[in-house]
Subunit: 426 residues, 3 copies
Amino acid sequence: MQISNELRAMIGRRRPGYSLEAPFYRDKEVFDLDMDVIFGRHWIYVGVEPDIPEPGDYFTVPLGRTSVVVVRDDDMTIRAFHNVCRHRGARLCDGDKGSVGNVVCPYHQWTYDLRGNLIHTEHMGEGFDRSQFSLKTVHVGNVAGLLFICLADEPPADFEQMRREMEPYILPHRISDCKIAYEEDLIENGNWKFTMENNRECYHCKANHPELTVSLYEFGFGYQPSPENAEEVHAFRELIEREHARWESCGLPSVELEFLDSRATAFRTERLPLDKAGESQTMNSKVACQKLLGDLTQRNLGGLSFWTQPNSWHHFMSDHIVTFSVLPIDPERTLLRTKWLVHKDAVEGRDYDPKELSEVWHATNKQDGSLVERTQIGSQSAAYQPGPYSPYTEELVEKFMSWYFKRLRTETGQESAIVSPFAASA
Amino acid sequence: MQISNELRAMIGRRRPGYSLEAPFYRDKEVFDLDMDVIFGRHWIYVGVEPDIPEPGDYFTVPLGRTSVVVVRDDDMTIRAFHNVCRHRGARLCDGDKGSVGNVVCPYHQWTYDLRGNLIHTEHMGEGFDRSQFSLKTVHVGNVAGLLFICLADEPPADFEQMRREMEPYILPHRISDCKIAYEEDLIENGNWKFTMENNRECYHCKANHPELTVSLYEFGFGYQPSPENAEEVHAFRELIEREHARWESCGLPSVELEFLDSRATAFRTERLPLDKAGESQTMNSKVACQKLLGDLTQRNLGGLSFWTQPNSWHHFMSDHIVTFSVLPIDPERTLLRTKWLVHKDAVEGRDYDPKELSEVWHATNKQDGSLVERTQIGSQSAAYQPGPYSPYTEELVEKFMSWYFKRLRTETGQESAIVSPFAASA
Amino acid sequence: MQISNELRAMIGRRRPGYSLEAPFYRDKEVFDLDMDVIFGRHWIYVGVEPDIPEPGDYFTVPLGRTSVVVVRDDDMTIRAFHNVCRHRGARLCDGDKGSVGNVVCPYHQWTYDLRGNLIHTEHMGEGFDRSQFSLKTVHVGNVAGLLFICLADEPPADFEQMRREMEPYILPHRISDCKIAYEEDLIENGNWKFTMENNRECYHCKANHPELTVSLYEFGFGYQPSPENAEEVHAFRELIEREHARWESCGLPSVELEFLDSRATAFRTERLPLDKAGESQTMNSKVACQKLLGDLTQRNLGGLSFWTQPNSWHHFMSDHIVTFSVLPIDPERTLLRTKWLVHKDAVEGRDYDPKELSEVWHATNKQDGSLVERTQIGSQSAAYQPGPYSPYTEELVEKFMSWYFKRLRTETGQESAIVSPFAASA
């Protein structure tokens, strides 16, 4: 899309290590650019295989005013289409989820098969060439059961690299053998970048997340040793080393991978120890589901975390998985979609209680939503100006922003020469 | 109004036979142009004589952010004024309907008579020339009891032609001897052109309107014979011929008139057979009011339909009349105002039950509203592109759009050379 | 801020003595200019000393999307700050009122003292210079207990003049010895200038304010003698003369001061007689609080009124004070904040009943809110055009508008040559 000179200048003058100028969190032009360049040309995490276990199962993904249907075909292939009839533009599939034989438009019954082919239309005449009116396809990527889509004609090719690198980490938790035990949509009253900034640091955890910090060590979330916390960070790093050795010996890859700056399909992962019982992100740090995932037999496996840019994070424990996708609604509202997965053979009431399972992140999401809203409101004040990220706790926030501006500049044809503001301290 | 080059280009490149580019259904600039050119310079259907039977009775008409008062003067003349005080701009008349002696502004009691003359003001001094501050008048047109307004200084002159042509059709149903038995405002979450597109075809009726299609033959609503339905359309045309002969012999003009392309004040009419008992658009296709309209004595008169551009449709049966006006609220919301009329001497509870009377169109309106919303939502997706109208069932949709663009081009000074995309097939 | 040529032209062509063109009451560009030039560079009335009697007490002021905290420091100094954390822009203080030791940002616990100094931050490193990240200060002005703020770096200097002139009028009512007995926020669905226009005339009082006009003589509110009301205005002026003599002899300055045109910090004041018992603006015109203010011993002191531009008015009686601030929310919504004050030693239930105390202005505010909404709605009609202010009753409306345009022109660098349209009649 064409962008104004004002926006081009604002992209050009972004000061590394600082939060953004207010229009980045509010203006429609920026939002439209975000939806075009970031959400329109990158791999977006949207759901998991267990969302659509059977042929004909579908779920819908809202991205701004665009809607995508992800569906499982009769041959078990997962496909995605734009949720728009090619006749007069009616929304095809309603609701978050459902199951269909074919996709039939409720308006005039134009009928598409699960490959998106238009297979039936009344009243269009004999000369009508249905092959010109297939549903518009959307690319689907699958990382060990985590489903990504890409709206671009030519998606970033480095998805394949991420898939190869991440599969050994995730496969032991066997997503395809899971079921969704609980899910929750939360609308946060803030720009999607505030949601992401909030997720990329744990500087705010101690004071805001009493439930989460029962099990979570904040140090694993982008902390650098500082005069204040050098000792604790050091102790945590020793703990990591010990645990990594233990987990790797069980065949669980654990070491940190980080490709946040250099790739279009950017991610970070690491298996991190949990505090106390060390088993799961729960109120007592013990497993919330008695039936463990896949063939796992040990409970105290900590949590494998996986963060992607622009829009997701995931935590894999021995007993359950929590997975989050960030879906922008408009410049000042964002949908946070959270799903809790357990082994498909786990029995509700016996092996797990959905409320206990979801208690920590249900509370944490609400707390984060209110922090995001607080930042949205504050940043719209005439007095707001970008402030400095902490070099010891907000490095991953800066990495997210650095990636964001690199992507904007690349895709809008501005040169890119970003230097990490934390190069010296890191 | 001035329009942007983008909009001018978009008007210029409209592809006949296809739905419109998304901005036509959403953008504020298009909406403002629609309110200026279409709703500001054409005859707009707004209500019926029985809305204001007595001197001093008024009703208000919302058109975007503009409000018009239609009032019956003491000499029974029907007049219309802008609903704005000439002092400091206060809205004068509240609510949908009411009755007044003079129009007194609630703010500072500036007082206007029913001809719009400012007849009383306190505190304005002796030199104040009240004649300069009359209410701004709005033109009123009356077709056998159907009331139209035109906001332009010089309304399209061909209204008179429509009046002359339509009166013989409508007069036998004697609107001025009717009363309003039921009325209903429905806000549709879509652009007004989606409401009109939806009304101009019955391609969607079979699958969406179980109540309406009890009595309605879809073929009467712009169908052309196709390989699929040639037989049924042929049979229906024979039925029409027989019925027209019968009705004309009773003094009821029935033959189709269609002036949808060539005139500013565009319309179509035809008396159409109804299915089953053939009497009325009801759940059992029989009359819903035992007292027939005017001097009618036969029940099975089918339904006289009357469609106008840009904003109305009407069905006249032997026992009751249903009349619809489409009033844009903003780019994505439209008010559909529906009124059911019966003979003024019909007694509620004995001759008719308002619920039974309104059941079919109450349900149909709700169904249409949801289809309009579905199209509004879908068309705002980044993936939407204009799709093809059916040449066999959506010819009247194309005629509406062809008229719409002809009017936009004429009124914005662009040349107009529109060729019907269905010329060959029709 | 940069303004468009259209707005510049509209400011230039404003017709004195007439209400404004519609965009002044609706457009975002005008609203942004109002927030920048009028609310950003003038003294804005926001509250009273009794809002924050104790050290650490604060109240927040919403001005469009900006929020300001007014706080009492430990040394009893009243200070104001922008309510925005200098870290990542979070809103600091929630709600309308509260009490704090320091201001601690809920997000990452950046901590500011009550002078706005950043005194504590975790994880920012040793080289971090906290002195660069103090809260942004806002100027505070205090007129005998009425608190004003100014967002500009260099506030209009003539505030000092107003303070000197007004203190003798207000001090006898001793605001600092009052408490807030009742307060109320009302959101009016209209532009803030409609709220102000409405307040600057009593032309609408008789027909709209049955409760207020029990005690209020409309003549005191900007009336000029006209042929219609010369006699009443004359009688009222004689009454004023007698009462002023009586009140001045008690040491209560009463004579009108008016600086509405010539100053940036514009105001008007006068002590005005009340009707009937003449004691207070209540339903029976008698005091609503048995304990009188300050050292006052007489009940029938009429009402000292104090109006400021752009955003306040106040009425001081012997027993209570009512004080109003007008705070724009967006182009079409305005917050009217009203507080009722009584002597701090008055006992609720014995000396006063909050409901009785607030009854008149609670009702009057609601009536005014509905008039403002009526004007907002009406003025957005395509047919609206500016109408004439009454030279006999709306002179203060014109003075407000004349000041408004003078300020816009001065601050946007347009020359200013405004002639009062009422020069001859006044």
